[in-house]
């Protein structure tokens, strides 16, 4: 018997092409997701050096980052032009590069278009036990189905296109075990916000985090993708959740997933990936699921998390002087006073979307809260942006779009939208947004924007009350 290994070590070992004397490994990449923003220079580099894409069959391109989320086709079905010249140029570049280099391309108006990290698992392109890269830092998302997935920069995108490999140093391993059952109103997003608040924004630095425990096992794939998505907000290179029957049931029959005898062989392999009994992690954190409340961020780092029943902390309450200074700066930016009850914070904007929370389960959770209610008058802008065209179609088939629009929320076309505000969806300076995305950084949702990260149900609750709200008060 070989020594017991973790899930991460098994995936890593299976992808080493070559090991260099300094421990760096040439790692084979099974899946490469490409979008319009971080790829144009990579393709230009290939062209300039006369290179081709080594494995177009393992590459999938889809635009998402800067597409407008307003209607994309006119009444006659023709594509509407994108007003922003630079966004239009990036989209045009991808539309040209994908066919030129023989890459599968999902068009901006195709029914399956959506956010890369929603599309990958949804199409069965992302699979357990694979290595997945994409030029976006939330690629860790695919760890929810048990793939080793991480974000890369543009020169690495070019490197993967040309060689289907990356030079990497092995990471350390960290287990975050969430045991027990979560209470009512507590979702996957609250679990990951709570974890990030507990381990800190640098708690996972240099590590790949494997999320384990009964509370994680109990999550749907949608929920697991939400958890793994924010591994990077805890500083980790990637997140992982062991594939199990829930994973197999989710993937079976998806367009790019293996079929027939291939499917059986794949499942047998995936079952062998779980961390061996006796394998050890470099770091272990244990969390009691019962202690997790619906959570919300108060500052400009994703570690700035409190339960919705809590108050804005006093910077002086932090032991670390650099954290004290950072908290004071955050509060000044956020326009908040220490001691203010989170539930008294008024909200002007609502964003339900992003690769963290834009899958069908998220749409349902938000709709369940707004159903039969109206958006509060002080909420000026409330948009619901499904993660893909397929999520959108499913939600519409269930009548969720009507629930949102009847309540005064806007129902949009799929894309990244106000997660990073590269398209026209921006939160005005000085205004707050209850957002289901993953980053509350300064200016992330537009210059001067103030972001409070929450779950879809909590964002929906804020939409109807006009302030941050404990969703449990609105639950039947």
């Amino acid at each position: 018997m070989t020594r017991p290994r973790t899930l991460y070590e098994k995936i890593w070992d299976a992808h080493v092409v070559e090991q260099r004397p300094d421990g760096t490994c040439l790692i084979f990449i099974d899946r490469h997701l490409v979008h319009e923003v971080t790829s144009p220079q990579a393709f230009a580099g290939l062209r300039a050096s006369g290179r081709t894409v080594r494995r177009p069959d393992l590459t999938l391109a889809v635009p998402d980052h800067n597409l407008p989320t307003t209607v994309r086709k006119d009444a006659a079905g023709n594509k509407l032009p994108i007003a922003d010249a630079e966004s239009a140029a990036q989209l045009a570049a991808l539309e040209k590069n994908a066919p030129e280099f023989g890459i599968r391309y999902i068009d901006a108006v195709a029914p399956e278009q959506g956010i890369v990290h929603v599309v990958g698992p949804e199409q069965g392109f992302s699979l357990p036990g694979t290595t997945i890269v994409c030029g976006d830092s939330h690629t860790a998302c695919h760890g929810g189905i048990g793939a080793l997935a991480f974000g890369i920069g543009t020169s690495e995108v070019e490197h993967v296109l040309a060689t289907q490999t990356l030079l990497l140093q092995p990471a350390k391993t960290m287990e975050v075990r969430v045991e027990g059952e979560v209470g009512p109103g507590v979702t996957a997003k609250d679990i990951i916000l709570h974890i990030t608040g507990t381990i800190g924004a640098a708690g996972g630095t240099g590590h790949v985090i494997e999320y384990t425990g009964s509370a994680i096992r109990a999550l749907s794939i949608e929920g697991r993708l939400t958890v793994s998505n924010m591994a990077i907000e805890g500083g980790a290179r990637a997140g992982l959740i062991a594939p199990d029957e829930t994973t197999f049931a989710y993937l079976k029959g998806r367009p790019y997933a293996p079929r027939g005898a291939d499917w059986d062989a794949a499942v047998a392999y995936w079952k062998s990936l779980a961390t061996d009994p006796g394998a050890t992690y470099d770091k272990v954190v244990v969390i009691d699921a019962a202690e997790i409340a619906p959570s919300v961020t108060w500052g400009t780092s994703p570690e700035d998390v409190v339960p919705i029943t809590g108050v804005v902390p006093d910077p002086a309450s932090f032991a670390d002087p650099s954290k004290q200074a950072a908290a004071a700066k955050s509060l000044a930016y956020m326009g908040l006073e220490p001691g203010t009850r989170m539930q008294d914070v008024a909200i002007e904007n609502i964003f339900i979307g992003s690769c963290t929370n834009s899958r069908i389960e998220d749409m349902r959770a938000a709709a369940a809260i707004v159903k039969g209610r109206r958006k509060a008058d002080n909420v000026k802008w409330a948009i619901v942006v499904p993660g893909s065209g397929l999520v959108k179609a499913q939600a519409e088939a269930e009548g969720l779009d009507r629930i949102f629009t009847d309540a005064g929320l806007e129902w949009r076309e799929p894309g990244c939208s106000a997660c990073l505000a590269m398209n026209p969806d921006k939160v005005p300076a000085g205004e707050r947004c209850a957002s289901t995305s993953n980053r509350n950084f300064v200016g992330r949702q537009g210059p001067g924007s103030r972001t409070h990260l929450v779950s879809p149900a909590m964002a929906a609750a804020a939409a109807v009350t006009g302030r941050l709200t404990d969703v449990r008060e609105l639950m039947a």
Binding site: D30, Q41, G45, G153, S155, T165, D262, A265
Partner: protein
Amino acid sequence: MTPIEKVEGRAIPLGLKNVDTDVIIPAHWLKTTSREGMGKGAFETLRADPDNLFDSPEYKGAPILIAGDNFGCGSSREHAAWALGDLGIRVVIAPSYSDIFSGNAVKNGILPVVLPQAAIDRLMEVARTDPVHVDLDTQTVTTPFQDRFAFEIDPFRKMCLIEGLDEISLTEKSDAAIAAYERQLDTDRPWLRPAAA
């Protein structure tokens, strides 16, 4: 990538400390589709001044840039190296760099020379009137006035720059190993090839 061995020419005596990547290339240039042409955006805020060094007749197109401590700090954007390259810079001389920037510079064929502040001060003086000579092979910076400053560089980086090897070219040397891995993969996990949708 163009190999670098000897670079001789005018050196822009910028001399500033903590030149961050926002100064090298402002954020709005991130929404571009090409590496080329980014030189136009290089040091855009400094070049808003009509009397700036970069566009002056003596220094226009100069291949060397002299700066202060911590050059290339701030956001990790690789666009900073692209912008410098497109501006025509082949060598930066400074007392220190951010790690990410010096890595990106080498990847893009730009030599980051580290010299102590005293040497920088002297080179700033020379650069005002005369050319500077950088020899990567002998790891020296010299001037027409008998100045001679030796610098250290990681041997691997030196080899990459002299041979003009980018990381892709290096990985391509492992082509046989990658091909062997791919063949094995088709045997071990044939289902990994995406089903035709």
